[in-house]
């Protein structure tokens, strides 16, 4: 069997430009997807893979169930079985966690193919098993894996044709026609490897390269066009009658890729559009959230302001209530005072009516008089004083008109003056006591207003009794000139009750 080295010899190295093109695509996919844990590692491994297996190309597809995009590798890997080169179509799914997670490899048989039953390395769904995969670790690489798979499948290919002629066991019935060159001219169908496979002189099917000479690889422009070209090549090959039509089934290029419609480079824009839409949606969401939070802030502030305002208004209303109460109290007080004054007025009017007689009938002395004995005494004293003054005046007159002698005059004046002095002294004393009484009364009034204790009142009363406390006191001071002096006495007269 041909090992890995054989393949290397059979197939020339793909040119760097081809690989670069694939890598460019791959990097584009990685930038779009952005979910790969280790994109650099993915790129490195896949670059190696592209170098080893020129028939593999990178694509990406959306996985609806997981709502992610995954990069996959589609294409064929070469095997050599019984000196015939075959190419197995596979799909390799590169997981997001590559290289921590193993790549999932599927066989992708064409409708004419089917998977061999009970194959050691593949199940009926096409899932590929290999110890390398089972023991995948971060040091494993896809290229190595594929190489091992090539070896394994070369030993025992997993796919067989479904043609009625061939039996499932005959491995020779498998497709052995090497794939025609993709995109190459129909005339250039050099890939008849029926007898030329061992020596390695069979030129590998260069992708889209001109027959024979150049080994340029051109990435397939599209799956459909390549399939068309392949079919054309097939027809051309068939026309040459080179192979069994039943056998001359070119290695089918899977026309129905497992996931929904295949995507090649020109079809990439829809994904970015969706992404852009998503981005825009995200932006909108963020903006809306910002606006919402702002609105929330302002509303909270407004609420607080309103609360403060509310509190102040409540306080104001309380104050106003208090003031209202006070004013009402005052109003009541004034009303009561008004009532009292009205009462007094009616009393006075009544009294006036009762006593309203013509002038001659009115006895002034009966109506008017001092209200207490002190005032009465004062009144009498003052009148006596004035009388004596008048007497003296008339004595002067009498002396002048010689009605009395000087001696008599002098004697009388002397005695009258003495009496007058006594009267005056008494007047002063009485005045003093009246003043005292008035002051006591005022003090009592003030104490009543201040609601003083009763003991004070009791102490006050004895003081009101007149006593000259010590012998020869200074006589109390008098006040005004004579006339004014008596006027103040008279002003203390009140109405009789």
């Amino acid at each position: 069997m041909y090992g890995y080295h054989g393949y290397q010899q059979q197939m020339p190295q793909p040119t760097h430009s081809v690989v670069d093109g694939k890598m460019h695509n791959l990097n584009t996919y990685l930038n779009y997807i952005r979910a790969y844990r280790d994109p650099l590692r993915v790129a490195k491994d896949l670059k190696e893979t592209f170098h080893l297996f020129p028939n593999l190309s990178p694509y990406y597809e959306n996985i609806p169930s997981r709502n992610i995009n995954l990069i996959n590798i589609k294409g064929t890997i070469p095997i050599c079985f019984k000196n015939i080169n075959y190419y197995l179509p596979i799909i390799v799914w590169v997981p997001l966690n590559y290289p921590l997670e193993y790549p999932t490899i599927f066989l992708d048989p064409t409708p004419e193919m089917r998977i061999v039953e009970s194959h050691q390395h593949a199940n009926l769904q096409g899932l590929v098993y290999h110890p390398y995969i089972s023991s995948w670790n971060s040091a494993s690489t896809l290229g190595q894996c594929l190489k091992l798979l090539c070896d394994a499948f070369s030993f025992k290919p997993p796919l067989e044709t479904k043609s009625p002629n061939s039996s499932p066991s005959t491995t020779s019935s498998q497709y052995n026609q090497p794939p025609p060159p993709y995109g190459s001219s129909p005339s250039g169908s050099p890939v008849n490897s029926n007898g030329n496979n061992n020596t390695g002189s069979i030129p590998p099917p260069p992708y889209g390269s001109s027959p024979g000479a150049s080994s340029n690889y051109v990435p397939p422009p599209s799956y459909d066009s390549s399939i068309q070209k392949k079919n054309a090549a097939l027809a051309a090959a068939a026309s040459k009658g080179l192979g069994d039509p039943s056998i001359a089934i070119p290695p089918p290029i899977p026309q129905k890729p497992q996931p929904p419609p295949t995507k090649s480079l020109p079809q990439i824009p829809p994904q970015p559009v969706i992404d852009k839409k998503k981005e825009l949606i995200d932006e909108c969401t963020i903006k809306l959230q910002e606006i919402l939070s702002q609105y929330y802030d302002t509303t909270v502030k407004e609420i607080k302001d309103f609360q403060v305002h509310n509190r102040s208004l409540e306080e104001l209303s309380k104050k106003q209530q208090l003031e209202k109460g006070e004013l009402q109290e005052q109003l009541a007080l004034y009303n009561s005072q008004i009532d009292q004054l009205n009462e007094n007025i009616t009393q006075l009017e009544k009294w006036i009516k009762e006593n309203d007689k013509p002038e001659t009938d009115i006895d002034i002395d009966a109506m008017l008089g001092p209200k207490d004995p002190l005032s009465k005494q004062l009144l009498k004293l003052v009148s006596d004083d004035s009388t004596i003054e008048d007497l003296l005046y008339y004595l002067d007159k009498a002396l002048h008109s010689n009605r009395i002698s000087l001696d008599e005059y002098l004697k009388n004046v002397r005695s009258l003056s003495r009496d007058q002095f006594m009267i005056k002294a008494t007047v002063k004393k009485v005045q003093y006591f009246i003043r005292q009484n008035q002051q006591q009364f005022l003090q009592q009034q003030q104490q009543q207003q201040q609601s003083s204790p009763q003991s004070n009142n009791n102490q006050q009363v004895p003081k009101s009794l007149p006593q000259f406390q010590s012998p020869p006191p200074q006589p109390p001071p008098s006040s005004s000139p004579q006339n004014g002096h008596y006027q103040s006495q008279l002003s203390q007269l009140y109405y009789k009750q």
Binding site: Q347, D372, H400, Y409, V413, F441, S464, P472, Q482
Partner: protein, 221 residues
């Protein structure tokens, strides 16, 4: 409100009339004060009567001198209660300017101030002149002898004054009299026990000397 409160007033006031004094001591005090009062009052009336010419000068002089003497005695009696007569008069509404002037300030009746026009014979005149001269000399001598107590000088001066007044020929305006009058006033306002100090006695002596000289000159004329 006033009507209502009046009823309260009567209940708190005392209802008795007031007596001026309640014991003998007070009574005596008030009696003495009454005397002082009456003296001042009578003096006032007397002065007014004299001005109105209701009183002959002689009677006036006698009465006035009597009153003045009484006034002085009562002053000593009432030293404690009446330190200031003017204040006393204000206290009891005693409006007696003339009396105050006469009693407190001058201390002699006005007849002594202004000589009355008494006709006198020559012999009386001679007698008066001699008397005046004698009094002058006596007064001056006693001052020189340092008998300068008020109660010693005052009578001499008042006698001198009197005799000068009797010398009616001098005329009413005799400058010598002025000075002596002033001195009498001063002495009148001093207490009896006061003494003239050196300056005053010298001044008095000087004044007396001057008056005597003037008098002498007047005699010569």
């Amino acid at each position: 409100m006033n009507l209502k409160n009046n009823t309260n007033n009567t209940s708190t006031q005392n209802l008795k009339e007031i007596k001026l004094y309640s014991n003998n001591i007070e009574r005596e005090m008030y009696d003495n004060l009454a005397e002082l009062y009456s003296i001042i009052k009578v003096t006032e009336h007397l002065e007014k009567a004299y001005i109105r010419d209701d009183v002959p000068p002689k009677d006036y002089t006698t009465a006035c001198s009597k009153l003045i003497a009484q006034f002085k005695s009562s002053q000593t009696l009432l030293k404690d209660h009446v330190p200031n007569v003017a204040q006393f008069m204000r206290d009891y509404d005693l409006n007696c300017k003339a009396a105050y002037d006469r009693l407190v300030i001058k201390g002699f009746p006005s007849t002594l101030e202004h000589s009355t026009n008494e006709s006198s014979t020559d012999t009386a005149m001679a007698k008066n002149v001699a008397e005046a001269v004698q009094l002058f000399i006596t007064t001056m001598d006693s001052i020189r002898l340092k008998l300068v107590a008020v109660d010693g000088i005052y009578p001499l001066l008042s006698d001198l004054m009197e005799s000068l007044n009797r010398n009616s020929w001098l005329g009413p305006t005799f400058e010598g009299k002025e000075k002596i009058k002033n001195w009498i006033s001063i002495l009148n306002q001093m207490k009896a026990t006061d003494e003239l100090d050196d300056e005053q006695s010298r001044q008095l002596l000087f004044d007396l000397d001057n008056s005597y000289n003037i008098f002498y000159k007047a005699i010569k004329n």
